[in-house]
């Protein structure tokens, strides 16, 4: 399908009290690849969801080819010619690749039946025509790797021959050849006259693929223009709203060699984690990088005792058996989990209860909670973190994302860890809170705590970490120190090790 223009004006959307989109606008013409960038929480995903019909805007208009669109369901989006490859992947694990590819557009036979065999044939031939191989169309998606699922998600969108192709972070787990394949597909698509909307965190990819770029911040369009006219620094500044260096605290000189606080020997948790051996020193910040799905989550979960693992972990020279998070906490390892709402907080409980629950043994005697000890714990935690709230009895669901993250931090810090694990702790958090978290990390390090942190944001790794280990396929591919820690080096090691390429 061709599209001559896509115009979005005045889009407003709030979730509860949180404003995700605040008068967002977007303007694309047919045949162009348009990049949409912005921090986490800037509104990109919400915009995508509005366009794909999953979410209804409170206000605003969408015009496609000069006609007003009302996309009130994913079905209507498809009928309007909008296809989306979602960031969180819209493939159903228990269905086959073929079923997923053709979901909703199956060729029907008599009496509403779907012919499975012809579906598989068509799926196989379609993937072949795209140049995708190695995916068995009869296999369940559950058996595919993350990269394969991303390829499937993209292929699914292409199959629908849309007028508007939306790609939300399509390359987070892809290898370079796969990224090249994607670029070729998008260029082919653009040549047919459609509009490609490309959301990514990777400025290099944006520079090489897109024609124009729009920057979102706090739900608004803060800048649009041809990619050639926007420097990287300018783009980052628009994204953050302030120059980069104001966000990150000063990085101290490389610390002198300290004692080893934590040593991992062949820590493995198949199939994702295949054997990690490393040392973490006192007061050190170690960043963990690499493409998505290379075992980072497994590493953190194994180190925290949340999943079963083999291999040896020793804290301060003593071997510890990490069978359960409680064991890890007792050994001095604490975790800030990935997803606030589902793994970090009990949303309907109060701030007080959420912070205390991590330190129950320390504040109770004979099975009863000691109110005095609890109050002491709470007040010091809350003041240290500057949590903005009405009272400790408030439900955490009423707090902003940044403050919720602070509650989790409060709980974790009250557990007095010697090794702090932070898994993507700044995702979806506003810039102000991020700066506070960075400052806190530095404070903790100066006090002797070691931090292992994973981030999808390479800029964070560069600015905060004393060392960076890059994971690939469940193993450490590179261990970078000091001056070796640069964006290009980290990305290079993530995708292929060694040589940097023109693209990057």
């Amino acid at each position: 399908m061709t599209a001559s223009s896509l115009e979005i004006t005045g889009l407003q959307k709030s979730f509860g009290g949180v404003k995700a989109l605040d008068g967002a606008t977007l303007s694309c013409v047919g045949g162009e690849t348009h990049a949409l960038i912005g921090e986490n929480g800037a509104g990109k995903s919400t915009l995508v969801k509005v366009l794909s019909g999953s979410v209804q805007p409170d206000e605003g208009e969408i015009w496609l080819n000069g006609e007003r669109l009302h996309v009130s369901s994913p079905l209507e989006a498809r009928q309007a010619g909008i296809a989306t490859a979602f960031q969180e992947l819209s493939v159903i694990p228990d269905l086959s690749v073929a079923s997923n590819l053709f979901y909703g557009i199956e060729p029907k036979v008599r009496a509403g039946r779907i012919d499975r065999n012809s579906l598989r044939r068509e799926a196989a031939s379609f993937l072949e025509s795209l140049g995708v191989d190695g995916i068995d169309v009869a296999a369940n998606v559950r058996e595919l790797s993350l990269a394969q699922r991303q390829v499937l998600e993209i292929s699914k969108a292409l199959l629908r021959e849309p007028a508007v192709l939306i790609l939300d972070e399509p390359t987070s787990a892809l290898l370079p050849e796969q990224v090249q394949w994607l670029f070729a597909q998008v260029r082919d698509f653009a040549q047919t006259g459609g509009i490609a909307l490309f959301i990514s965190h990777r400025l290099e990819e944006i520079e090489s693929l897109s024609d124009r770029v729009t920057v979102l911040r706090s739900g608004t369009n803060v800048g649009t223009g041809p990619i050639g006219e926007m420097s990287e620094a300018r783009l980052v500044e628009m994204m953050l709203g302030r120059p980069v260096d104001r966000v990150f605290p000063e990085q101290p000189a490389a610390p002198t060699e300290q004692d080893v606080v934590c040593e991992l020997t062949d820590l493995a948790a198949p199939p994702r984690l295949r054997g990690i051996s490393m040392k973490i020193h006192k007061g050190e910040i170690v960043g963990v990088g690499g493409l998505q799905g290379q075992g980072q989550l497994a590493l953190f979960m194994a180190l925290f005792g949340a999943i079963r693992s083999t291999g040896k972990v020793s804290i301060k020279g003593k071997h510890v058996r990490l069978r359960h998070p409680r064991a890890a906490l007792d050994a001095g390892i604490a975790l800030i989990p990935e997803d606030r709402a589902s793994d970090g907080l009990c949303m309907t409980l109060s701030i007080r209860e959420n912070i205390s629950v991590g330190s129950l043994p320390a504040i109770s005697s004979w099975g009863v909670v000691n109110r005095a000890k609890e109050s002491k714990l709470l007040s010091s935690a809350v003041s240290q973190l500057n949590v903005k709230m009405k009272s400790l009895r408030q439900e955490v669901s009423a707090l902003s994302g940044g403050n919720q993250q602070k509650v989790i931090l409060a709980r974790v810090l009250a557990q007095k860890p010697s090794v702090l694990l932070m898994y993507d702790a700044t995702r979806g958090v506003d810039v102000g809170t991020k700066a506070e978290i960075y400052r806190l990390m530095r404070e903790q390090c100066e006090a002797g705590t070691s931090i292992l942190f994973y981030s999808t944001d390479v800029v964070e790794l560069v600015n905060m970490a004393d060392r960076v280990v890059v994971l690939h396929d469940g193993q450490i591919r590179a261990d970078l120190h000091g001056a070796e820690i640069t964006e290009s080096r980290i990305v290079a090691e993530s995708v292929g090790g060694g040589a940097t390429r023109q693209l990057l």
């Binding site: 794909s52 019909g53 999953s54 369901s73 994913p74 079905l75 989006a77 498809r78 979602f86 969180e88 992947l89 819209s90 493939v91 159903i92 694990p93 228990d94 269905l95 079923s99 979901y103 909703g104 199956e106 009496a111 509403g112 039946r113 779907i114 012919d115 499975r116 072949e128 140049g131 995708v132 191989d133 190695g134 995916i135 068995d136 009869a138 296999a139 058996e143 790797s145 990269a147 394969q148 390829v151 290898l175 050849e177 796969q178 394949w181 070729a184 198949p270 199939p271 396929d473």
Partner: protein, 332 residues
């Protein structure tokens, strides 16, 4: 764009695709067949008359029919990670109504029969609407409904008995081309399942049970499908109610209660994943047969019939524990 082999995918590592399409997740679905074969075998050895004897098949299948109907619907519901406890109420109220109001003869029974079917379907629709539109868990909604409709059944028919139309009884007895009607019904159900497997409806139900959030992104009409699943369950329960009442020739205000345990057990034994995403009504019907073989086995082994109640509860516990352990593992 060259089609170089392996260009787009790194060579497969340790997690090779299984050669046969059967993985650990399929094991539960096959177990039902194993159970049935084993139990039938034991029965035949110990007391062959119960299976081979004159009229045995017909009598046995007559018991299978209502459970097969109910567990078919229960399978659809459980595919979406739900459960329907109200089938007990639907069957009870259907039975009570038939025993007190349906005394017509011949074709005049039809409108009344239809009324019962409509009632069952509407109860199912009500279940589905509440479950789809509110955050209330299915087990609570259908638990409440069970109480409500059992209560109505009690009000209509306080004691067992009543009078059931002879036409209905005749309609459910006998043979068609030499094969008992009960067996025909089971066959029809199997055929319907085969057809259903290839429809959009079932694909959507599996998607909802497998990953509701992603199904929403795909555009699946989640509310509509859930309502359809519960409505089907209610309809099938009403059908079961008609069969049971016609066969026993008497109404019972609590006749439906036993079907709750039985249908859930049948589905679990049949291997449908209670966490959604995988299942088969055909396997559930196998599970129903396995479940119903228990009292027969107990009788064959000369134990008091109460052992049947015990074993039926036990097999549910064992089967569901077994399935839960496997199904949680295969989620990894």
């Amino acid at each position: 764009m060259s089609v170089t082999p392996g260009v787009l995918n790194p060579p497969p590592r340790a997690d090779r695709r299984p050669r046969f399409k059967v993985g650990a997740g399929d094991l539960p679905l096959l177990m039902a067949y194993v159970y049935v074969v084993v139990m039938t075998g034991v029965c035949l050895i110990v007391s062959p008359d119960l299976i081979d004897g004159p009229g045995a098949m017909s009598a046995n299948f007559s018991l299978v029919v209502p459970l097969a109907l109910v567990c078919f619907g229960q399978t659809l519901v459980m595919l979406t990670r739900g459960i329907d406890l109200s089938v007990g109420g639907v069957i009870s109220v259907g039975s009570a109504l038939m025993a007190t109001h349906l005394n017509a003869k011949g074709w005049a029974v039809m409108p009344e029969v239809l009324a019962i079917l409509v009632l069952g379907t509407l109860i199912g629709v009500l279940n589905g609407v509440i479950i789809a539109k509110t955050a209330i868990q299915p087990f609570i909604v259908t638990l409440a409904m069970w109480s409500i409709w059992d209560g109505v059944a009690f009000g209509v028919l306080p004691v067992e008995g009543g009078k059931v139309s002879q036409t209905l009884t005749n309609a459910t007895n006998g043979n068609i081309v030499g094969i008992p009607k009960s067996i025909w019904i089971v066959v029809v159900l199997l055929v319907v399942w085969r057809w259903l497997r290839q429809t959009r409806l079932l694909g959507d139900l599996v998607a909802i049970g497998s990953d509701e959030n992603r199904a929403r992104l795909l555009g699946v009409r989640i509310d509509r499908r859930k309502i359809e699943a519960y409505a089907a369950c209610g309809f099938l329960a009403a059908l079961a109610s008609i069969w049971v009442t016609a066969q026993t020739q008497s109404g019972s205000p609590i006749g439906g209660d036993q079907f709750i345990l039985a249908s859930v057990a049948a589905v679990v034994i049949g291997g449908t994943n209670i966490f959604g995403g995988k299942g088969s009504a055909a396997s559930s019907m196998m599970g129903a047969i396995a479940f119903l073989l228990i009292p027969i086995l107990v009788f064959a082994l000369n134990l008091t019939s109460f052992w049947g109640t015990f074993f039926q509860g036990l097999i549910l516990i064992v089967a569901v524990t077994f399935n839960s352990l496997i199904q949680t593992r295969s989620q990894r």
